[in-house]
Symmetry: C2
């Protein structure tokens, strides 16, 4: 068995031509699960027999010439706040642990229509906030995989599935992807349907994807986005132009160790130049405004239920809801105004070919008591712009570090093409984590 | 304890003035449940401690002058295909038995806003079709309560709750209400939101209510309908006029025993005259057209799930889905055309004050192997017109028989006022069923 994770880009053409069957691919994934899952605990629901039956159907379909789409037979993990009609959607809740939705979330419908094999549900932190999950970081079992899309990141990193759905309200896609060493895309706000997804804060919730290369992100995004944008072809041809910016004064929050790895990795990038962009006035107010927006959203979704089923809420989400209940309308109104103001300022800066570059996280994966710091992520959730994270280096003890790229509204095609180009520059060797003892 | 079931119309004013507390009313209902439930089995979910806490909150609210609305503290049962956010919604399915919806159905939201105490979930037949439920008819434990809103009808008949939500696609409100001796309203198609309700056949599904008098139906309907129609005041003042029609050749399908009781009861009605209306051409094609529409709807909702979880489907719903899968587009198109044609013909007949009168069912409650015959009900589900059923007589062995009244589109206020007037003419003695041995 190869020691690097298989990509969708590599597997899909083989499935199409019959050189690899969906059943064979599934067995590869199940072997990885045998190896890693007991220690990593990325899954909350996975039924091997069902997955095998589904793979057989998809294998037969190819033989009959019925190739359904770009994800035919590709095993995909689905974060457990996203409805899959015939699997429980537990949302990290005790009360909902065995709750079945009556229909697929729109994104899952789209994955199925493209031929994907929905392998199972991946661990989420409770209600997709920051209370730690059971999942471990596959690169160091004593570290967090990040959250809240913890299981999706860990599963993709271990090659248990070739891609996964996650969500982000603060830093819930970028952070776990970076901590686990996989690629992630958080699309523009509103770009991907959130129907059938448990909200955390409706004004900030994004559905996105994780995979083992940028091109795979493009394939997945093309399937789940509406209307469809042609990303994969632009990834293949390369971006026409990239205007790369770093943000003045942005990196203060980063740990020196991490910053050192970031700087080493980005030296491999060879654009004409990396320019500096000044942070707009008001940027430093984002943490407070984001927290207000998120807490009020969480309170509107959860307050009544928290009232009735308090024991289903661990401390951090509980505190968030309570903070939302105490926020004033003025707080929320100020947060909304800040969002509009900052978006207006960024709109001038984020031109057709502009891409901003930052570390994807401010720290290396910390201990299991936390899901890590989202400080480099939530500004982009708040400001709605699409982001991609790409692994670019490793710490001395082998923990992965990613770069985050950011583009303007609905500019995912250019963002992904630029990220693929950066990925080639980094030449980061994707490989599987060490086999757990 | 009185031997007649308490009505919303009687209880609500006492709660408002503090003469009866929600907690006291709940205890009355819980005592009825102690007496009847072991034999009748109307409930699939009921948590006494939770209901008591809720009743205490509603009791405190009255004391503080916070009277929430016309259903303040009234215990209501909810058919188990309708979502209540903190109770399982099992839909009569094994797989969904412990599934929690993430939010209230719109109708439940409205009940809560009006102060209702959601007491629990009442038994539905599996997926609201005709496979028999566990519930027994409280008037004869060897007979069916009817279906699919079986538990709602039985619970209201026994005074376990004062009102209940049900649904009808064929005869699922009128038939169990009639078999159990309670009143029911099936509103005009589209009048009440079906959001958060498991569909059986979306083109035919109606949410409606059951209670122990017509005025209670009016109160419940005013709460759940959107936009709100003023029904209760018209019930109280009486209809300005009623033009009562029976349908020529309609009663052939009825059992002679039942028809005899119907004729005796309707002699008590004293309008100027009861005229005869000729059935429009094409009426006899309704059974086949309704079945086509229902089976295609059921197939569109369930086929994929039946395919994956065949063991979750009992024989009748399974057969319905399979029939839907075999229907042709021409069948469905013909059914739609018939619906339009018949509605055009009825539109002329159903004027402002027109009310049609028929027996509510064609038979007395049959054995437990069936849920009875919906032959007098599905035409009005198909044609979309609102119907009310009112108990009017009893068979020699004490089984209840109801009259069904039908009016034109969105004419619920007049229909309910006419039904209340008919109810006064019948002077049917509502009483509680015999205590099970």
């Amino acid at each position: 068995m190869p020691d690097e994770p298989l990509t969708i880009s590599a597997a899909a053409p083989l499935i199409r031509t019959g050189e690899l069957t969906p059943s064979e691919l599934l067995e590869q994934c199940l072997r990885r699960i045998d190896i890693y899952e007991p220690a990593v605990q990325a899954w909350v629901y996975l039924d091997r027999q069902r997955a095998r039956r589904e793979a057989e159907r998809l294998t037969d379909a190819v033989k009959k010439g019925d190739y359904r789409g770009p994800l035919h037979g590709i095993p995909i993990g689905v974060k457990d706040i996203i409805d899959v009609f015939d699997m429980p959607t537990g949302c990290g809740s005790k009360l909902w642990a065995n709750s079945y939705a009556r229909r697929d979330a729109t994104v899952v419908e789209r994955l199925r229509a493209a031929g994907a094999l929905i392998l199972g549900k991946t661990v989420t932190t409770p209600f997709a906030f920051t209370d730690p999950p059971k999942t471990r970081n596959p690169w160091n079992l004593d570290r967090t995989p990040g959250g809240s899309s913890s299981g999706s990141a860990a599963a993709v990193a271990c090659g248990m599935c070739l891609g996964a759905l996650g969500t982000q309200t603060g830093g819930s896609l970028t952070r776990p992807a970076s901590y686990c060493g996989v690629c992630s895309l958080k699309p523009s706000y509103g770009r991907v349907s959130v129907e059938g997804v448990l909200p955390l804060a409706p004004d900030l919730d994004h559905v996105g994807v994780m995979a083992n290369c940028v091109r795979d992100l493009a394939i997945l995004f093309e399937v789940i986005a509406a209307p469809v944008l042609a990303c994969t072809s632009l990834v293949d041809s390369g971006p026409d132009q990239v205007e790369l910016y770093q943000l003045h004064d942005y990196f203060d929050a980063a740990e020196p160790d991490l910053l050192e790895i970031y700087r080493t990795a980005t030296r491999a990038i060879e654009p004409p130049e990396v320019r500096q962009l000044k942070l707009p006035t008001g940027f430093s107010e984002i943490p407070s405004a984001h927290l207000t927006t998120m807490s009020v959203g969480a309170a509107s979704v959860h307050a009544e239920r928290l009232n009735r089923h308090g024991d289903d809420y661990p401390p951090r989400i509980r505190e968030l809801i309570q903070q939302g209940l105490m926020s004033t309308a003025i707080d929320l109104s100020n947060a909304s105004r800040l969002r509009i103001q900052l978006r207006r300022q960024f709109k001038k800066a984020l031109k057709e070919f502009t891409v901003l570059m930052t570390p994807a996280t401010s720290d290396l994966p910390p201990s299991l008591e936390t899901t890590g710091r989202p400080v480099f992520n939530f500004p982009w959730s708040f400001l709605e712009y699409p982001t991609v994270s790409v692994p670019a280096g490793r710490s001395e003890v082998g923990l992965p570090v990613s770069i985050q790229l950011i583009a303007g509204d609905n500019n995912e095609p250019h963002l992904l093409a630029s990220a693929a180009w950066a990925e080639r520059c980094f030449a980061f060797p994707h490989r599987l984590p060490p086999v757990p003892a």
